[in-house]
């Protein structure tokens, strides 16, 4: 098992009047090669949860295992951080070096890689996020566009060569083109490198067609942990906590309600359009 959380609870400012429980009895395990969507309304504990994955936060109760070794006991948090790459929200705010190369090299340098190794890793990571190594390596990260800065920041985590990549709302604040680019890069990474990915989001449309497993978090505990289509069949419960099912699924569900024969587990607009066109053709005939 790549990552395992065993009955994890976490309280901020424990033993003070300001104590606030953010996670309650979370048990979850993640295998190599999975693409997981982590979804929940604002304040449900998503960001707190992922900081437990690599030892940035230590649970007030319960245990975290990375590759079957308990974090903080059998494996140092620093080592866990190399294995589980964590990309924070608005990661472009962490850029600090004079050049794109220097910034992406920060992680591998902290790991103690040789200069040759660093160059190989930086080159590979930048290509992964779709930035040309030769034209970007010497530019200042502060002269790039928002989408490019974010991709440089993601490359900075990829250069640690983690087994698993966790991204907290990687598309927030980007335009639709930047959003599409990041998501397609993630899909590509997952397929070619079989990198394990956890994508945190509050937007169902975004994760629905990418993830093969969804974890829904609400008020610090896991509400659902299942295949997307099985979860979307519980539309009512999702709406109660302020989440929605993908718009395409919602449309198809109303079609099914009206007796149309359409598949239920479809999330992509293009495919949906084809199905509806076929349906329309049949009706005309």
């Amino acid at each position: 098992m790549l990552l395992e959380l065993e009955d994890v609870s976490f309280t901020y400012m424990e033993r003070t009047p300001l104590a606030q429980t953010a996670l309650r009895n979370i048990s979850v395990s993640i295998q190599e090669g999975e693409f997981i969507g982590l979804i929940g309304p604002t304040g449900s504990g998503k960001s707190t949860l992922i900081q437990h994955f690599n030892g940035l936060l230590i649970p007030t109760q319960g245990k975290v295992f990375v590759e079957d070794k308990e974090v903080g006991v059998e494996i140092k948090p620093a080592e866990a951080r190399q294995k589980i790459g964590l990309v924070f929200q608005f990661p472009e705010n962490q850029l600090f070096e004079e050049s794109v190369f220097g910034d992406v090299a920060f992680g591998p340098r902290n790991l103690g890689c040789s200069e040759e190794e660093i160059e190989v890793r930086v080159k590979k990571s930048l290509e992964f996020v779709g930035l040309d190594y030769d034209s970007f390596k010497n530019r200042s990260p502060f002269s790039l566009s928002g989408g490019e800065m974010r991709r440089v920041a993601i490359a900075g985590v990829l250069a640690m060569e983690p087994k698993m990549l966790v991204l907290d709302e990687p598309t927030s604040g980007l335009d639709s083109q930047g959003r599409e680019e990041i998501l397609s890069r993630l899909e590509h990474l997952h397929h070619t490198e079989s990198l394990t990915i956890v994508l945190v989001s509050h937007d169902m449309d975004e994760v629905a067609h990418l993830a093969d497993r969804l974890i829904v978090l609400n008020e610090g505990h896991i509400l659902f942990d299942d295949e997307p289509r099985r979860i979307f069949s519980q539309a009512q419960k999702l709406r109660e906590i302020g989440l929605d099912i993908p718009r395409v699924t919602s449309l198809f569900m109303s079609l099914i309600d009206r007796g149309m024969k359409v598949p239920f587990s479809l999330f992509e607009v293009e495919q949906a359009a084809d199905v509806i066109l076929d349906l329309f053709g049949e009706m005309v005939r």
């Binding site: 990309v87 990661p91 600090f96 992680g107």
Partner: protein
């Protein structure tokens, strides 16, 4: 990162007569208190002032733990003061420790100066415990306004203070976020010698500065687009007004302070 446990300069919300007192009165009284602390020359005077402060803490519904925690950063300075006076004051020797002679005058002086420091710090922290930062800057602005004739930008100074205070928590949150992001990339802020540690702060400080400048730009833009142009001709939503209770409380405290000074002079 450890949660900051410093209480000096913090506000303790409560509904007490002290909290509702006009901030200008509180600022003036605090200044007077400082004068009194320096004018008092005996332990009886300190006891009187201490009693007065205890009364304020009681009426202001402040927790004693806050007062004590506020004094905690002072402990080394207090120890240093006491030891210095103990060792280096000539006079009647009461204790001989090898080459060290501890005198009665040394003990007296040491305790005297420690008492003065404790009273100064806890007295001034009572002001910030019972006054919101906004009230405080409003009061300072008002008290500075007579000096505008000498080109002291009272309003601008107060506005700068308000903004600085407003952004302290924001920047603390931001610092923690950047720290965690860099730790996720293998940064180590805790080990190594002083030079390594100073160097390891670069990945924290550069993004923080970028963030501060960005926020400053945005704030300036937001203020200008709402037609802010400094204090000239500006009216306020909550104008400070002295009421009967403010005069009464102010006068009563002045009388008590003067009494304490008189007691302490001899």
């Amino acid at each position: 990162m450890k949660a900051l446990r410093v209480t000096v300069g913090q506000y303790f919300p409560a509904e007490s007569p002290i909290h509702h007192l006009d901030p200008r009165v509180k600022i003036c009284l605090t200044m007077l208190l400082m004068v009194a602390i320096f004018m008092v020359k005996s332990f009886t005077g300190f006891a009187a002032l201490g009693l007065l402060l205890c009364l304020v803490v009681y009426v202001g519904q402040l927790p004693w733990s806050w007062i004590l925690r506020g004094l905690k950063p002072l402990r080394y300075i207090l120890l240093f003061t006491l030891v210095m006076h103990l060792l280096f004051t000539p006079g009647l020797v009461i204790l001989l420790l090898g080459p060290l002679r501890i005198t009665q005058e040394g003990l007296q002086n040491g305790l005297f100066f420690c008492a003065r420091l404790v009273l100064l710090v806890s007295g001034t922290s009572l002001l910030t415990f019972t006054t919101t930062p906004i009230e405080l800057t409003d009061g300072i602005e008002y008290l500075l306004s007579p000096f505008r004739r000498f080109k002291v930008p009272a309003h601008e100074l107060a506005m700068m203070m308000t903004i600085a205070l407003r952004f302290i928590p924001t920047l603390l949150v931001e610092t923690e976020k950047i720290m965690k992001a860099q730790m996720a990339r293998g940064a180590d802020f805790e080990s190594g010698n002083i030079f390594r540690r100073a160097r390891s702060l670069v990945p924290l400080l550069v993004p923080l500065f970028v963030d501060v400048f960005r926020r400053a730009d945005e704030l300036a833009l937001a203020m200008e687009s709402r037609c802010y142009r400094g204090g000239e001709g500006r009216t306020r939503m909550r104008a400070l007004r002295m009421e009967g209770k403010d005069w009464l409380m102010g006068m009563a405290t002045v009388v008590l302070l003067v009494l304490a000074i008189l007691v302490g002079r001899f």
